[in-house]
Amino acid sequence: MSSVPEKLAVLADAAKYDVSCSSSGAPKRDSRDRKGIGSTTGMGICHSYTPDGRCVSLLKILLTNFCVYDCAYCINRRSSNVQRARFTVEEVVDLTLQFYKRNYIEGLFLSSGIIQSADYTMEELVRVARSLREVHGFRGYIHLKTIPEASPELIADAGRYADRLSINIELPTEAGLKRFAPEKRTGSIRGTMAGLRLRIEEAREEKAATPKAPRFAPAGQSTQMIVGADETNDASILDTSSTLYASYALKRVYYSAFSPIPDASSALPPKAPPLQRENRLYQADWLMRYYGFSAGEIIEGADGGMLDLAIDPKLAWALRNRERFPVDINKADREVLLRVPGLGTRTVDRIIASRRDRTLRFDDLARLKASMRKARPFIVTPDYRPTMLLDRSALRDLFAPPPEQLGLFA
């Protein structure tokens, strides 16, 4: 195979199971000095959306999908019959710049199958980033996948050129990793994440002291976990996530519902988990990071350690903790308001800002972007009180979608 478009088709297909496409968190840069090309805005931009509803922000490709590992869940495992291809460093650099100049992308997310050795592979990734930054003055976003066993010097180089680095934890438990990715080691994955956290923090401190100090992955690190490839329940997934967030200062844990791949391994379950499960995990993740919930609180009392698929986890928590409601919108503390279903962080901030000037009434809340359908049973305003609503045993049914009707021949 020789043509670049043919390789692009293979190596983009091979990279799409890494769900992260975020271009956020980089320091603001631009090219007004006319010595380069590109800029970063801080929050990131989605330049397109594919029909799976996912954002296309970065050119997300593998350098090669040849791989010496045999991870059962991966389309590129060495025993798969998938078509193989390999880009040269120059091809990736050129493709990135050409796409960037046409405003298709915010930058590059480059990963790779492991070829020859961890160091060899990592060095190729670093060469792409170095060429973009140093030869072409590229100031767009770069996300590099970090190979856990690569040498510290190469990882230091990667952090100098990349905005974000990531290492995938792959499976929520060590036992799962042993079963599906026999060549990978939880220990070296965690150890590399720990090393990245130390370097990121060190670089940040140096930067604060001397502004010219070199950067190291200023947009931080992230990871990805595959959901539904083994029997691990949501309780232990969230437990792993909260440990990862607390330990390695991760920007994000991405959850990727295991999805059928061409030429799947026989070790995998034949059926994919419902995509709604992934969605509920993201909601729970948000509750841990922005709403002050612990993993234990979110999952406590949930059936079989699994999040309720029919209603969101905050609502599920509120229904299990009805004695804490209703909450007075005009008096409650921020932490209490954050736990009211239907109120997001920005709505809570708006409530707090607005109520300094006037008492909030029921109709005001809709203008503050509260989801009134969800919030109604849980709040009190001077002109509204949820009579009896909280006491209804069937409160959950008000929110859960009706069960799907069976077809005639089901």
């Binding site: 983009a12 090309i37 594919t50 509803g53 045999d70 330990s247």
Partner: protein, 481 residues
């Protein structure tokens, strides 16, 4: 009007004329003209009967938040935008200084909605403009055709000049065009779609990428339409693929599920991990290697790694702490965090050479409770101390020190096998194990936890005094004077 009051007709030069609005508003405020007596027009929007002549009004203070709000709102297509802004100004000037903070006020809410719509349009224009490359006699040029919903062409200029400063480009819209020649920005009249350039070879490559990065097993067209509404599709080269990608998705997924796993047709040589180094049997290096995969208690699960002891093999003194902390867990080395740094300082003050010391912990994995972005230290339990004693025993048996120092109760318990009261028994040399003299003192993290600075200083002095005993038993530990 009904009262027959004078009516002011204000004409602005451009649909997004913030300066014109500002000037007019100053004049109107100076004349104390209430909002209902003003009619606002921008060129191209409604008929003009000729603008009323307004006096030059002086500047007056407005809340800092008003200016950026107005800069956004004037870009909106809503014909009432200037009237709404003037009404807000009027109310702010007439007793409602904090009006903009009252998010629930209907006027403030309406302005916020206009602003949000403009912000969204700006964001989508940043995202969905697609440049096409043109070869011209003067070299490479790029041009894009776009149809913004609001009057945002000037609003997005700085994004494109900041990003594509070294390219020559034009963005063409029905209402106006914007050109950058690598140095200067200029604006021209609107352009018809038929007159915008067509085609670019890379659009095929882009469609190739778009098709390949789509996962048919996860079709979710509603989600896509929410973020990329259909009205944008006609100017996105990739959008023409959407119907066929969706139509094929079901079959492609079913195909993947039905196909039985195949045996590999081609062999890629498997990964051969580097063989672990063969270490001398019974050496400390071998014990360390064995400990790195320890699963003798559940603490290995959430921790990053085993933090084994460190120091010279002929160390006369072994210091035993409680367990690694956050920093030690990350670095994989004992006594490198805040408590370790305090320990180093105290040793030096006690006249002892840190390089001669072997430092380790009673428990070799960090026990913690995750809380948000931090890990809260948790005291190890008896059975965890028991399980880990296996490793401490081996360290001591190999090193054969002349003195062991227990820093805190956990270390003392591990060494003696009983519960020890640190504050009662500290500072004395006792036989901690048969034939092995030991010294008990506090753990340096105890000092860090004391809230009162005076108490901390007193306790630090006592800690240093305790450490001084070490020099008596092991003179080699003393720093050269």
């Amino acid at each position: 009007m009904a009262e027959g009051a004078a009516l002011y007709d204000v004409a602005l030069e451009r649909p997004d004329d913030l300066d014109g609005f500002r000037k007019a508003a100053r004049g109107l405020i100076a004349l104390e003209v209430p909002p209902r007596q003003v009619l606002w027009h921008a060129s191209g929007e409604g008929s003009l009967f000729g603008a009323s002549l307004l006096p030059e009004g002086g500047p007056f203070p407005v809340p800092a938040a008003f200016v950026p709000l107005a800069a956004d709102v004037v870009c909106h297509r809503d014909g009432e935008r200037f009237a709404l802004l003037y009404e807000a100004l009027w109310r702010i000037r007439h007793g409602e200084k904090r009006l903009l903070h009252v998010v629930a006020d209907p006027l403030v809410h309406r302005l916020a909605m206009l602003r949000k719509a403009v912000g969204r349009d700006v964001h989508k224009m940043h995202a969905f403009v697609r440049f096409r490359r043109l070869e011209t006699e003067a070299g490479e040029r790029f041009a894009a055709w776009f149809e913004p919903e609001h009057h945002i062409l000037r609003r997005v200029a700085s994004f494109f000049t900041g990003r594509f400063s070294t390219m020559n480009w034009s963005i063409l819209t029905p209402e106006g065009a914007m050109h950058w020649n690598g140095a200067e920005l200029s604006f021209g009249p609107g352009v018809r779609k038929e007159d915008a350039p067509e085609g670019d070879d890379f659009e095929d490559w882009w469609r190739t990428y778009y098709r390949a990065t789509f996962n048919p097993a996860r079709s979710n067209p509603d989600m896509m339409r929410q973020e990329m509404p259909k009205k944008y599709w006609r100017n996105l080269p990739e959008a023409e693929l959407i119907p066929s990608l969706l139509a094929e998705a079901g079959n492609r997924t079913a195909g993947m599920l039905e196909r039985a796993p195949e045996a590999p047709r081609k062999r890629i040589a498997p990964y051969v991990p580097a063989a672990p180094a063969i270490l001398p049997a019974g050496s400390l290096a071998e014990i360390r290697q064995d400990a790195s995969s320890c699963v003798r208690c559940p603490l290995f699960g959430p921790a990053t790694q085993t933090v084994f002891g460190e120091g010279p093999l002929d160390a006369p003194v072994v210091f035993v702490g409680e367990q690694p902390g956050d920093q030690e867990d990350l670095a994989g080395r004992p006594f490198v965090g805040p408590a370790g740094q305090l320990f180093d300082r105290a040793l030096q003050e006690a006249g002892l050479d840190r390089r001669q010391a072997y430092v380790t912990n009673a428990v070799k994995h960090f026990k913690f409770e995750p809380r948000g972005k931090r890990r809260i230290h948790k005291k190890p339990e008896g059975r965890e101390i028991e399980a880990c004693r296996w490793w401490l025993d081996r360290e001591l048996a190999t090193l054969k020190p002349s003195l062991v120092v227990a820093l805190g109760a956990t270390a003392a318990r591990s060494l003696t096998g009983r519960t020890v009261s640190v504050l009662r028994e500290r500072g004395r040399i006792t036989e901690m194990r048969p034939g092995l003299p030991g010294l008990l003192t506090v753990h340096p993290s105890f000092l860090l936890r004391l809230p009162d600075p005076a108490a901390r200083e007193t306790e630090y002095r006592r800690f240093v005094e305790d450490l001084r005993h070490i020099g008596e038993i092991a003179p080699v530990m003393r720093l050269a004077a």
